[in-house]
Symmetry: C2
Subunit: 377 residues, 2 copies
């Protein structure tokens, strides 16, 4: 296919990311990952490799591209535990991009991040770098979620098929049509598990105006700023957890030690529960967190306090570094931070897909955290 | 896509099938199905519906079509038990055909049967009828096998991707590339199970000369002749089991009653074992048959006598009708007939894929049944 692409954006609007940006993004994406989305460190290794090889990693505001530009959302699919054990080969996303362009016989103008949380923040940057395309400064979740139908793009009406899935072995699958977004998720997940548990999946392209309207805004600049705040606080011996809360309008809701931890893999998902015993100002209290790849439900003394889609984040109490579900260990001392979910995840339409009932907790009603104190990224 | 197809065969060479042919095929395909391949009765219902609606079902010898004609093999994928519980919608195969033509941007000239055993004998006829294409008089198994990589087409070097899979819900998946024939099977099977257990799958087209060289010859005429022999024997009050043996060079190796039966579904497959207690000239003997969708291993008094790929067929001792695995019942009186496998399934290359070790019996060596007495179909 001859490259007939005309740039649909002004190159002066591009922000080129550095290795330092990736270090900050690793921390910020880990925080927004609420325990899931794949280990951001593993994702960063591939991104750094691409940087070292001379590829440019560039992000672009969603309003800095022409409204009819064709944008392809991409993310890794699999279980976080597998992601740690098996490094991606690195070009799965590029193969998805080329297969998609071949399928729709139109060049793609920009890459979109499906999920800013965890490794999935890095994957689109690698695809964009290798493919010579910018990544829009937004994402489809504003955090991490375990399933594909949980993007704002799907929630607000975009059909994610035809999609393309490529794994490190060289398998390539096109989901031409799925009868529902959930059906698409089921088929793709089953395929991934059958082939070893890790692949990249690119969904049907969207026009930029749709991405601008329904993407979670400024995900990359926000995640990088979060990471920078943690790094700066540590350097200046300030409290990194307070810095995170300050930037995202979050609250530190618990401080405790992990006293019990149950995790297992089921159908490609990491399912589990952890128990916390409080110390410092939480002394004498207990808490628990329910896990489905991400941290879903926070209870204090057996009573529900924070639920998905609001963000429940576990940070190392000393360093402020985020802890992903696969890195949880008995005896860890953690701070639990609650961050209000973006507005697009709080509509009744969104709550059907990403509220507690969607995760098997029909008895729990979502009570949104207050958002007043959130700073702009 | 404009229909630029030029007929690559002489229409006078076509044999048009009747409802009576389908009745005979139902029995013959049941016999060659060795217990698997989906219930042929359920397949026949859809074929009869197409006949009644005025569609023509035509078969064509593999040497009666130009050698460069493009032939697409098709079959149902799923577990037999599911096939009985869920009728296909009927146009899955046609959707596969049109999606494949669209994918390769070339019209298909003829349909090929992946598996003559069971319902998969009927599926290609329905696709051919609805699509206006003949079905070549051959197949890729000469019997039924549980997995896709077990066709002679795959065994002798054809890569079955890109393939197209469509289910009754409307889901459509293209497997663009699989790193191996087994990898293709694993992904497709997982997808099917994720979406409810039944779909049609069309594999990458082959040229007619390849089909002629590596297909199992005359599968349809052979299966129809087998069914006719059973029907004729019953009408004339002769022994239908002897008629089956006579036509296929088979031997009646056991006569007994089912005294124990274990079956369960695992990953979309019907797995199990049955025990037989002999009567008539087998009085005092016991036998067992191991099942993986099909009947795999026959033992007499604990000693292996017949193994896959040779055909182990269970027939109702009175009617001569074949019994599929999902129709097995405690107390049934059955005759076990052993039929030598076609030569293409007996090479060392084939035995790696369809010999006992491929089914988890590395300790059992295939000892081919003698083929001397086989009649031409």
């Amino acid at each position: 296919m001859p490259d007939t692409r005309k740039l649909k954006y002004d190159t002066s609007a591009l922000r080129t990311l550095t290795a330092e940006d990736l270090d900050a993004l690793e921390i910020g994406a880990g925080i927004l990952g609420t325990g899931g989305g794949g280990n951001p460190y593993m994702g960063k290794l591939l991104a750094l490799e691409a940087l070292k090889a001379g590829y440019k990693m560039q992000i672009l505001a969603t309003d800095a591209i022409e409204s009819d530009a064709l944008c392809m959302s991409i993310g890794g699919i699999g279980a976080p535990v597998v992601g740690v054990e098996r490094l991606r080969e690195g070009r799965e996303g590029l193969r998805c991009l080329r297969a998609m362009e071949d399928l729709i016989r139109t060049p793609i103008d920009a890459i979109v991040c499906e999920e800013i949380g965890g490794a999935n923040s890095m994957n689109p940057l690698v695809t964009g770098a290798l493919g010579g395309l910018p990544v829009l400064d937004c994402d489809g979740m504003g955090r991490a979620f375990p399933e594909m139908q949980m993007t704002t793009f799907s929630i607000y009406g975009h059909s994610s098929t035809p999609s393309v899935m490529c794994d490190l072995h060289g398998n390539a699958v096109i989901f031409s049509h799925a009868v529902s977004e959930v059906g698409h998720e089921r088929m793709a997940r089953a395929c991934v598990v059958a082939q070893g548990g890790a692949a990249m999946l690119a969904t049907a392209p969207m026009q930029a105006h749709y991405v601008h309207q329904y993407g979670i805004p400024k995900s990359y600049t926000k995640a990088i700023a979060l990471g920078e705040a943690v790094i700066k606080a540590r350097k200046e011996q300030e409290d990194p957890i307070a810095a995170v809360c300050d930037l995202e309008g979050g609250r530190r809701i618990f401080t405790g030690k992990i006293t019990d931890l149950k995790r297992h893999l089921r159908g490609g998902f990491a399912i589990g529960d952890l128990e916390l015993s409080g110390f410092d100002d939480c002394s004498g209290q207990t808490a628990s967190v329910a896990i489905q790849n991400e941290f879903l439900i926070f209870k204090r003394n057996g009573k529900v306090e924070v639920t998905v889609p609001d963000l429940i984040v576990l940070l190392d109490v000393d360093t402020g570094y985020p802890i992903t579900t696969e890195m949880l260990r008995y005896g860890q001392r953690v701070a639990v931070v609650a961050i209000p979910a973006p507005e697009l995840l709080r509509s009744s339409r969104a709550l059907e897909v990403v509220g507690p009932s969607a995760f098997g907790y029909p008895e729990i009603t979502f009570s949104p955290l207050p958002t007043a104190s959130r700073k702009a990224a």
